[in-house]
């Protein structure tokens, strides 16, 4: 095969993917970007973008050309000082990244996750049955989508009861800071300052409850030769990325099921579809919409020359609805084989908590199928605008108990 000549003109787009308008409803802009070309430039920020499945997958897979150590947000760590010490996982490259990641994969194994299932399911059943029995209008976000992960996740990590309200603002802050210094970024830093103090306190070796994930990470990190500061930073990754994302996944699932009664009927009829329904939610709604990479060298992508040091914005959410890859991509179909989407990323930086997220999603949706006969919208949902995440602030619903 001969290489394509590196002469293709790059479409220049005037879109702002971090504007309120875009964040509120990104789908038509995603289509515009996919159709503009395999690679495009976002004039406003001087960055490249990819929105088709193939190009997003290629950038994710080639972690040597498209590095993470220069930050996975708009800011280039080679020229700007990061607002917090970089993550040893998210914002690192092999071989350092490989070592840190191995500490975590050795702990968060499929066997460990299997051992959690029974307990997670009991708590999901208890919560959903209780909320469904209440009758009237409920908020799918605070009553369910936040309530369930905020019960099981901090217990699993070994965090104290007091202060758990800091988890959501901290996560929201971290994901906002991958964008430009807009209103969301600045507000997130303001709100997150207090949360940050609590989070860093919980991350210190010796603080998490013995037997939980936190202590296990500290111990394994110490054995791998990491000092106390790095042990804390490894646990910080979980508290940054493990809560808001799952909350949004569950909230978005409720929204999709309420909007598609025939899909909820299918789930009710066969609760074993719960895991596949969660997978489809992650594809369809992409709680993590975007991430950046930075080119470590001059390269070429689908005929477009990229200079060294270019920021490349991957629209994961757009790739997850690329008609080149998916049949009827804009339809929410819980029986679809959604595996292979890039909602959790792919390759060496694939989301470390993805199997935990799937477990939480599966247990929650199983409980929903068991204890709820019908689920209807009861008002306008309120979108939570975040530079990276897609989720809801509130979702008024009317549930009928089964």
């Amino acid at each position: 095969m001969t290489a394509q000549p590196v002469t293709a003109a790059v479409p220049e787009l005037d879109l702002d993917p971090f504007s309120d308008e875009f964040l509120t409803d990104p789908w038509s802009a995603h289509e515009l970007m996919r159709e503009a070309g395999p690679v495009f430039r976002l004039q406003r920020y001087g960055v490249y973008g990819v929105a088709r499945f193939d190009e997003v997958a290629r950038v994710l897979a080639d972690h040597e050309t498209y590095v993470s150590s220069r930050g996975v947000g708009l800011s280039d760590f080679a020229t700007e000082k990061p607002w917090r010490p970089p993550s040893l996982l998210l914002e690192a490259d092999p071989p350092h990244h490989t070592k840190a990641r191995h500490v975590v994969t050795g702990i968060l194994t499929p066997n460990l996750l299997r051992s959690l299932k029974e307990g997670f399911q009991e708590r999901a059943d208890e919560l959903v049955a209780r909320v469904a029995a209440r009758g009237g209008v409920i908020d799918g976000v605070t009553d369910l989508a936040e309530a369930f992960p905020l019960q099981v996740f901090p217990d699993f990590v070994g965090l104290p009861e007091d202060g758990r309200e800091n988890l959501l603002p901290y996560g929201s802050m971290v994901f906002n800071t991958f964008g430009p210094r807009n209103r969301h970024f600045e507000r997130a830093l303001e709100r997150g300052a207090k949360a940050q103090e609590w989070i860093m306190e919980q991350c210190q070796p010796g603080v998490p409850v013995p037997g939980g994930l936190g202590e296990k990470i500290h111990t394994a990190a110490a054995e791998a030769g990491y000092g106390p500061d790095e042990q804390a930073r490894l646990l910080r990754s979980f508290l940054s990325a493990g809560v808001d994302t799952t909350v949004h996944g569950i909230g978005n699932a409720l929204q999709c099921l309420a909007a598609n009664p025939e899909q909820f009927a299918a789930l009710s009829g066969d609760p074993s579809l719960a895991r596949s329904a969660f997978e489809e939610t992650v594809r369809f709604s992409s709680p993590v919409q975007t991430f950046f990479r930075t080119t470590s060298r001059e390269t070429e992508l689908s005929g477009v020359a990229l200079p060294e040091g270019s920021k490349v914005l991957m629209f994961l959410a757009a790739a997850n609805r690329d008609p080149r890859r998916w049949e009827k991509p804009n339809e929410f179909d819980i029986r679809r084989k959604a595996a292979g989407h890039v909602g959790f990323g792919f390759g060496v930086h694939a989301c470390l908590g993805q199997m935990l997220a799937r477990l939480e999603g599966e247990c929650f949706l199983t409980a929903l199928a068991r204890h709820v006969a019908s689920i209807e919208p009861a008002g306008e949902p309120v979108q939570q605008l975040n530079n990276t995440l897609r989720g809801l602030d509130s979702l008024p619903l009317r549930l009928t108990a089964a």
């Binding site: 994969t105 292979g340 694939a350």
Partner: protein, 104 residues
């Protein structure tokens, strides 16, 4: 093009041609061969693309990495000496794999 043979637990065989460098997992998933779940899409995180490589094809396979080794300890069906994660097997020449009874 190299051929990949998938043998179901009941003995039924599917033979597919695939591009060199494509993984055994991707070959199965993209052509709808049942028995490989591959939830994580090939990031060696879910242990649901477990296969048993048939004896004549064991030589010349890529070595099992530490991460794959840990994942193979977590497979739903029993781990055997010829167990591999099919997402980690890039097809270089003909290969035959037997599928386990369960993946999850």
């Amino acid at each position: 093009m190299p051929k990949v043979t998938f043998i179901q637990p009941d003995g039924m065989e599917t033979v597919l041609e695939t591009d060199t460098g494509t993984s055994v997992m991707r070959t199965a998933v993209s052509r709808g061969v049942p028995g490989i779940v591959a939830e994580c899409g090939g990031s060696a995180m879910c242990a649901t693309c477990h296969v048993y490589v048939e004896e004549p094809y064991l030589d010349g396979l890529p070595e099992i990495s530490d991460v794959e080794d840990e994942m193979l300890d977590c497979t739903s069906s029993e781990r055997c000496p010829n167990s591999r994660l099919s997402c980690q097997l890039k097809v270089a020449s003909d290969i035959a794999v037997r599928l386990p009874e369960t993946q999850v």
